[in-house]
């Protein structure tokens, strides 16, 4: 292996440099992510569509950009990403009904474009409406196919670890 030969030929200083540039990549990715969180107000500004319940608009593996600006009210027809208690994975669906009180509290019901019924069956047992605190964000931008790698990673965990290890090794060992 070429890369391994390269690695063996490094001295201490070069190894430190490699480690530093690896840390640089990780921390700048983290910085961008956290910065986006601040700008968009959403705890997860970019999500990958994991189910086909919004087809044909969104396929599995499409990328959505979210904002969650509190001044910007939720309205019927908006595509919201929400979390339900007892479910790990956020859901991307469209607002079907919405009731807002004068003090600003709002409750709404969602439905997937590709589903025949509304989402009450998906909510926590006994839960009839979603509220603002369930919302992760509202879909504002769309980019197709880019998240497919994530889908494969989710479907095949071994593949995920292989990719991560390969990437880390490459960055650590490869010389600039």
């Amino acid at each position: 292996m070429d890369a391994w030969d390269d690695f063996k030929r490094m001295n201490k200083r070069q190894m430190l440099y490699q480690a530093l540039s690896f840390g640089m990549i990780v921390s700048s990715a983290l910085m961008i992510w956290k910065g986006l969180m601040v700008v968009t107000g959403s705890e997860s500004p970019i999500v990958v569509v994991l189910s086909g319940s919004m087809e044909p608009a969104f396929q599995r593996g499409d990328l959505l950009f979210l904002t969650n600006n509190q001044e910007d009210p939720i309205r019927a027809g908006d595509i919201v990403v929400f979390k339900v208690e007892g479910r790990e994975i956020p859901i991307v669906h469209r607002v079907l009904k919405l009731h807002e009180k004068s003090n600003g509290t709002v409750k709404f019901l969602t439905k997937g474009d590709n589903n025949n019924v509304d989402d009450r069956g998906l909510y926590a047992p006994g839960q009839l409406w979603l509220q603002k605190n369930h919302v992760v964000g509202r879909a504002r931008g769309f980019l197709p196919y880019v998240g497919l790698v994530t889908i494969y990673m989710n479907d095949y965990p071994h593949f995920k670890y292989a990719v991560l290890v390969a990437l880390a090794l490459y960055v650590l060992i490869h010389r600039e």
């Binding site: 608009a57 474009d113 509304d118 009450r120 504002r140 931008g141």
Partner: protein, 191 residues
């Protein structure tokens, strides 16, 4: 570039970056377009009936809660004599339109209510000329409470959500809406 594999790899990477650039150009060329279009909506017959909403009132039954159902089965809204040409909205960065009709109203208990009554997906290449008569609403029009009887001012609007190939996901309201009122009595007829 020293091996066949190296050359193929470099070329694939370059092609992908060109593709990203082209997609961005496509996004830029459509991002400032105005997608509003006139539409007409009207209602033929409107009835209101008091019916418990079993899907939403499992807990609230004991509070004596009753939802109000608007019956569309009797030719509810003969909507959408409208949008004769959504076709022109389909530029090269529109994959799909999601059309929906929203009823918007105010009740004593809720300051702002929106209920989607009907929706339709129009894919690129499908007929985008909407001229519908006597269609029934797709979803039940249940109020949160019983504020619909005798309600004077419910506004129907048509909107569409644009799904692009790549880009923003705007919700656009049609120019033009329709207001109607509910009768002051619950209907007794079975529909």
């Amino acid at each position: 570039m020293h091996s066949v594999f190296g050359r193929g790899n470099a070329m694939a990477a370059y092609t992908l970056s060109v593709l990203a650039g082209l997609t961005f150009c496509c996004f830029l060329s459509t991002v400032f377009l105005d997608y509003r279009t006139p539409a007409t909506i009207n209602t033929r017959q409107v009835v209101v009936k008091s019916i418990p909403d079993y899907s939403a009132s499992r807990e609230k039954n004991d509070l004596g809660y009753q939802s109000v159902l608007l019956l569309f089965s009797l030719i509810f809204v003969a909507i959408l004599n409208c949008c004769t040409h959504l076709t022109h909205l389909f530029n090269w960065n529109v994959k799909q339109l999601f059309l929906y009709v929203t009823a918007e109203y105010q009740t004593p208990s809720n300051e702002f209510n929106q209920v989607v009554l009907w929706d339709k997906i129009i894919l690129r290449g499908e007929n985008a000329v909407i001229d519908l008569k006597n269609i029934h609403a797709k979803y039940y029009f249940w109020d949160d409470g019983n504020g619909l009887k005798g309600h004077k001012n419910v506004t129907l609007t048509l909107s569409w959500n644009i799904i692009p190939n790549a880009g923003l996901l705007p919700n656009v309201g049609a120019i033009g809406s329709h207001s109607f009122s509910f009768p002051p009595e619950y209907t007794t007829s079975r529909v």
